[in-house]
């Protein structure tokens, strides 16, 4: 059995761990509020952008000549996967969930004998993927230095993707991120951004005729690259909100577990203290009796 001193030390150590997790939970909670706000504020832009693109692509009749970013390169051989994770750990299953989702997708691609290329955004994703898919990772991006999610960073990622597309390095591009549903639930998602999935055409084909200036395809070819950056930005915002939410829950659990552990250790400490005292008393009494 552990000595009293050892028990005491363990209790103190668990208590200080608890203090840390508690502090992390508070920080995550306040960051979460901000991240959630900016995720909600960012939604109108991407929604409107999507709307305009849907309206535009509906009015395009000549599908063969429309921009490649919309219809794809006509092939389905090389897949580019952009896996977006966080730069920091200690956030529960946040990163693992994305990676798991991505890995199932990777396996499918490999089984279909297609070429797989990976870009990781955020260092945690790279750390988890480098073992199994080292040769597939063609680029790793990390925004450790920028404090908040900003459009400028998203644009950088978007430019890299478009650049690679124009060099015909891949045919299909999918991004992986966590969608923020609420503090407890985050849903890992895969979203295909090149070619653009036409399934989002919910509203009936636009009956109103738009006036375009300049021509439709010219607008589209200008708009689509922007849309990629916008989608990336949206994913980054959702991700950062999810990260904080997930960290908050994880740290909340950790704090509770530490509390339980302290209770258990304290009981154990008190019991063994009592046992020691009893033992000493018995020794004294039996010593006195033998006289």
């Amino acid at each position: 059995m552990a000595s009293l001193d050892d028990l005491k030390k363990r209790i103190t150590s668990v208590k200080s761990t608890q203090k840390i997790t508690k502090a992390m939970k508070m920080v995550a909670a306040s960051k979460l509020r901000r991240a959630q706000e900016s995720a909600e504020r960012g939604r109108p832009y991407s929604d409107k952008m999507n709307n305009i693109i849907v309206n535009l692509s509906n009015s395009i009749t000549d599908k063969d000549n429309s921009p490649k970013l919309l219809v794809g390169s006509g092939e389905d051989k090389v897949h580019l996967c952009v896996v977006m994770t966080s730069d920091r750990g200690l956030c529960g299953g946040f990163n693992t969930n994305i990676i798991k989702k991505a890995k199932t997708f990777f396996q499918k691609i490999i089984d279909e004998r297609k070429t797989l290329k990976i870009i990781t955004v955020g260092s945690k994703g790279y750390d988890q993927l480098k073992r199994a898919y080292k040769d597939n990772i063609i680029e790793r991006i990390s925004f450790k230095d920028s404090k908040n999610v900003n459009y400028f960073d998203a644009n950088k990622v978007g430019k890299i993707i478009i650049d690679k597309f124009e060099k015909k390095e891949f045919d299909v591009c999918t991004i992986f991120y966590n969608q923020f549903k609420n503090v407890i639930t985050q849903i890992p998602l895969d979203q295909q951004i090149i070619p653009l999935k036409a399934s989002e055409t919910k509203n009936s084909p636009s009956e109103d005729n738009y006036e375009f200036e300049p021509e439709e395809d010219e607008i589209l070819s200008n708009l689509l690259p922007k849309n990629i950056s916008t989608q990336i930005f949206k994913a980054m915002l959702e991700n950062s909100a999810s990260e904080q939410g997930s960290r908050m829950t994880a740290m909340d659990n950790a704090t509770r577990n530490a509390g339980e552990m302290v209770d258990k250790l304290t009981i154990q400490y008190n019991r063994s203290r009592q046992a020691a005292i009893t033992k000493e008393l018995i020794e004294i009494i039996s010593g006195a009796e033998s006289l």
Binding site: S38, R41, K48, M49, Y210, F212, E213, I219, T230
Partner: protein, 130 residues
Amino acid sequence: MSDQFKLEIVNPEKSFLLKDDVTEVVIPAYEGEMGILKDHISLISFLKPGLIKIFSKGAEDRFFVEDGIVEFKDNNLTILTSSISNINDMKKDRIDAILSEAEKNSKDKEISDQQKYLADQKIEVLKSIN
């Protein structure tokens, strides 16, 4: 009938401006300045660097944009832009910074005609508000 319509300016980070008493908006569309009044035909266009002028009851606001997309539909004007700032808030050194960068870009031999056109536009506009 009033001659007012709704205007929304959105940038990636937030909804930048929302007004529902606008009477006229002048935008620097790609092929020239364009004034939009109520009951304009549905329109999609994009912006070149320039000034957005917003006229509402007795007030006039002016914003500098570098790029963007405009959609007008059912008397709702939506402007999506990643770079917008109110002229009154723009410091002179910031204007100068953008200006000198645009000038550098414009002299660059590598860039396409379209980019050069945009850079030249930027210079012209910035000089006019300076």
